[in-house]
């Protein structure tokens, strides 16, 4: 502003207090709404259309599986050969398959097979996965070595291939339970791995140490603090693997080592229709759509849950 002084003498600047009024240090703001992982996740999920769409499909699938007669009065076993691969008519929305059975009715009545296999597999993998994963991750040491090695061995046989072998051996006992067992017995290590990794992260948290310092027993710490805080990724994996289990059942049935032909299942119908791809594609396409939409619903739900539960995934949207 004036003539240049030889050395710069910076001024001591002080902002007026009104500009940035001081606030109390670390004041507590109790918000209107409570907030923890689950509350926040629910708040996040219910704002997303994808959640409602997949929830609606899943609900529909469950209702169809429980009460198939609400949706189709036509007996799926009442087949007239003269209708073989027939086109849709008024009462028979999706036409007929090779045996002359109603395609729509067979899809409706096949739903419970897919869903029950899926559910049994998921219960099995979750129980085994939690047992193996939780004990291996939490207790560590030699127990971890043994359980993790066992998991590695089961993990090294792709579960559909293992199920093919089991179903070949148990060819005389092919039913929903056996097939679910055959899939589940080799599918649990992925759940166990996810849980183990999460538990390894959580178990070193200070709040676990604090509980230990209170004298809470190890097992109670695992149940009360560690497991609840590690379970979120397991829920994601479980939702997605329900879809995968349904695919596995369909694949086994498709290969002819799944459920017997007498059991109505999407996989069986697709398998039976494959030779007629040229002449009657609808007999193959419609059960495939039912299968794929159901699986899509579970996978979409898994994604929504992952986005809601994992802050890292949420940031990626």
């Amino acid at each position: 502003m004036s003539n240049n002084p030889p050395t710069p003498t910076p001024k001591h600047f002080v902002a007026p207090l009104e500009e940035t009024p001081l606030v109390a240090i670390d004041a507590v703001n109790v918000g209107e709404r409570k907030s923890n992982l689950w509350i926040d996740a629910w708040r996040d999920m219910r704002r997303r259309p994808m959640f409602w769409i997949s929830a609606a499909i899943i609900l529909l699938v469950v209702v169809v599986a429980l009460f198939p007669n609400l949706f189709s009065q036509i007996d799926p076993r009442e087949c007239v050969l003269s209708n073989s691969n027939g086109a849709p008519t008024g009462a028979h929305l999706l036409g007929f398959n090779k045996q002359g059975c109603d395609v729509f009715s067979r899809i409706i009545h096949g739903t419970s097979t897919s869903l029950s296999v899926g559910i049994i597999v998921v219960i099995l993998t979750t129980v085994l996965g939690i047992l193996f994963g939780a004990f291996a991750g939490f207790y560590g040491g030699w127990l971890d070595s043994i359980l993790s090695r066992a998991g590695d061995i089961f993990f090294s046989i792709p579960y559909i291939l293992a199920a093919v072998v089991i179903m070949s051996v148990f060819s005389a006992y092919r039913n929903v339970f056996v097939i679910a067992l055959a899939i589940g017995i080799f599918a649990w290590p992925s759940t166990a791995r996810v849980l183990r990794a999460e538990i390894l992260r959580v178990k070193n948290a200070d709040f676990v140490m604090a509980s230990r310092a209170l004298g809470v027993s190890n097992f109670k710490i695992l149940l009360r603090h560690v497991l609840p805080n590690s379970i979120a990724p397991v829920i994601v994996v479980t939702t997605i693997s329900l879809g995968a289990a349904i695919v596995a059942e369909a694949t086994l049935s498709f290969l002819g080592v799944g459920l017997p032909n007498t059991t109505m299942s999407w996989g069986n119908d697709i398998s039976a229709a494959q030779t007629d791809l040229r002449t009657a594609p609808q007999t193959l396409i419609y059960p495939s759509i039912a299968l794929s939409v159901t699986v899509l619903a579970f996978i979409m739900m898994g994604e929504v849950v992952r986005d809601a539960l994992d802050p890292k995934a949420r940031a990626q949207r």
Binding site: A15, V30, A210, L214, G215, V216
Partner: protein
């Protein structure tokens, strides 16, 4: 704040505005910042987390994260208006004209590339040298300059083979490799041990002075800022509240926020105690009547420390008090699975550690990372089993205790840990968290427990309606208060504070320290205070044990340790307290 000089400013920021785009609109992070930096000068921006100090620095070379945008103002650097620069033109400025040294050495080098690769690519990108050989030679020179003696051998190594201090040297070397006119150093040593921090900052100072590089230094530590920079800018909520020559601001802070910071900074407090300025509370905050008065008023650390000392003589004098904790020859040896073929090695985390803590007093266990201080704390808490040695609590050796007696011991001794974000179970509400000890030890019935939880919330100055709330609704400081309440639930005699305030911002840290001092006086608590920060020790502890590599190298009263340290290592630690070289006093 325009400066009239014979030189043109190197960097001149006018009315800088930075905002972050969110779903609810643009949230301002920097609101009208003016800055002037002369060539070769050093300027420090000081502030707490969220003050906008780092955002300001990143805005200069447009390193703002995704949703961040400069929304107004101008940044003139060496005759160029940087706000108008495209991404492409900015690439020419970064590295070549303005160097950058980031905060955390652990995460700022790419773990999959060798050190040499990462230095060489910088040299190539900035056109300092071309040709394989020349680039390599230059890289070696850069690393040598940064203080890595055997640089040529280390080129092929990967970041994980380097210590934190060495990585930071590499980053400094990279930042200065093209002799920039300006270096932006964003908390360059906050993640390092104090003694390493000091060495690296000394080195940085020498280098920049030799090259003639101006430095924009970002830090949360007022003492460090004043020690390293001629100019100081204090930021609060995205604005500059005070700026000027460092010493002047420290000695005569005018803005109430700056006064708060000066009063709360532990490094300065220990200085102030030493220089005898404590008695003259020139910046006592209580008489600033325009500061909003709330339960959480500002804290003067020294006032708090003195208050604490005044309360002590009420009981028997320090020397006559019975010992609450006596640790003798405590040793912990870990067997580490060896590197490579079956070689097992031993790590002696605690090596014949002996000390005692008198009832109702505070003993600080001080040491840098790896000194074994936390291992000792965990053994006393019986969270780790000692390899040998004894731990006497009120005359009983607790090392071999099991079952019921151990459970009884746990009632009388409780910990508070470091990480505010990990210290509370995120899925349990505050009431359940504070009440857990009562539940575990079956104290009282449901209503009695609830009463006690409410009482504890009062004691740590938290509102009672938090009882049904969850940890992620609370700040770090508030979480630590909840952790303290949980520790106090069973009315213990001894509280082990393992870095309990280390992760907090200075003002919050001061507040918690004051709370701890008040609680000690009120409840006659015995504290074992584990910390890496010698500065904090001065205001909270009666006695100090300095640990190094598993051993106690010096143990004495706090005043003795600060006034006449006997060991070389203690002296080093003391010298490394930022601001040690500043003379205060009005």
């Amino acid at each position: 704040m325009t400066d009239v000089t014979n030189q043109k400013p190197l960097l001149e920021i006018k009315d800088l505005q930075v905002g972050f785009k969110t779903t609810e609109g643009v949230v301002p992070a920097v609101r009208g910042v003016d800055l002037t930096l002369m060539p070769g000068q050093t300027l420090a921006i000081v502030g707490e987390s969220g003050s906008g100090k780092s955002t300001t620095a990143h805005a200069i070379i447009n390193l703002l994260p995704g949703p961040g945008r400069i929304t107004g103002g101008s940044i003139m650097f060496d005759g160029q208006e940087l706000t108008s620069y495209s991404q492409k033109k900015m690439e020419e400025v970064r590295g070549r004209q303005i160097g950058f040294v980031p905060q955390d050495p652990m995460s700022n080098l790419n773990p999959v590339w060798s050190i040499g690769f990462q230095v060489e690519e910088t040299i190539r990108a900035n056109g300092i040298a071309t040709g394989r050989k020349a680039v390599r030679e230059h890289a070696i020179q850069v690393l040598k300059e940064a203080g890595l003696a055997d640089a040529d051998k280390r080129l092929k190594q990967f970041p994980h083979q380097f210590s934190g201090g060495m990585r930071q040297r590499v980053l400094i070397g990279i930042g200065l490799s093209s002799r920039p006119k300006l270096l932006i150093a964003d908390e360059p040593t906050s993640a390092l041990d104090v003694t390493v921090q000091r060495k690296i900052l000394d080195h940085l100072e020498t280098l920049t002075r030799d090259i003639g590089t101006a430095v924009l230094f970002i830090t949360h530590d007022l003492g460090l800022a004043a020690e390293r920079a001629e100019q100081l800018v204090v930021m609060y909520k995205g604005r500059i509240v005070e700026a000027g020559p460092s010493k002047e601001i420290l000695q005569n802070p005018v803005h109430p926020y700056t006064q708060r910071l000066v009063a709360a900074a532990p490094s300065l407090a220990s200085r102030r105690i030493q220089s005898g300025t404590a008695a003259t509370p020139t910046h006592s905050l209580s008489d600033l009547d325009y500061a909003p008065t709330t339960v959480t008023e500002s804290v003067d650390l020294i006032a708090a420390a003195e208050e604490r000392l005044e309360q002590v003589p009420k009981g028997p004098s320090l020397a006559k008090r019975p010992d609450a904790i006596v640790v003798k020859d405590l040793t912990k040896v870990y067997n580490i699975r060896g590197q490579g073929k079956g070689k097992a090695s031993e790590l002696i985390a605690s090596d014949n550690v002996s000390f005692s803590v008198a009832k109702g007093t505070t003993t600080a266990l001080v040491g840098e990372s790896g000194s074994g201080k936390s291992t000792v704390a965990k053994m006393i808490l019986r969270l780790e089993d000692p390899t040998s040695g004894s731990i006497m609590i009120d005359g009983v050796d607790v090392a071999p205790l099991k079952g019921r007696p151990l459970l009884d011991l746990r009632r009388r001794m409780q910990p508070v840990f470091q990480d505010p974000y990990g210290s509370l179970d995120p899925l349990r509400n505050i009431g359940n968290t504070i009440g857990e000890p009562l539940q575990v030890h079956k104290v009282g019935d449901r209503t009695a427990r609830r009463e006690r939880v409410l009482e504890l919330l009062d004691q740590v100055a938290l509102p009672q309606n938090l009882i049904t709330r969850y940890p992620n609704e609370l700040s770090g400081g508030q979480r630590q208060r909840v952790a303290i309440a949980r520790a106090l639930a069973l009315k213990p005699d001894i509280v082990v504070l393992d870095e309990a305030v280390s992760a907090l911002d200075v003002l919050v840290q001061a507040q918690i320290l004051k709370l701890l001092a008040d609680l000690q006086a009120e409840l006659e608590l015995t504290y074992l205070f584990i910390t890496h920060d010698l500065a904090v020790v001065r205001v909270i502890a009666d006695n100090v044990c300095v640990m190094q590599r598993g051993r106690i190298v010096e143990a004495a009263s706090t005043d003795q340790v600060f006034d006449s340290p006997q060991e070389q290592y203690t002296k080093e630690l003391l010298n490394a307290i930022p601001g040690a070289g500043i003379t205060l006093g009005v």
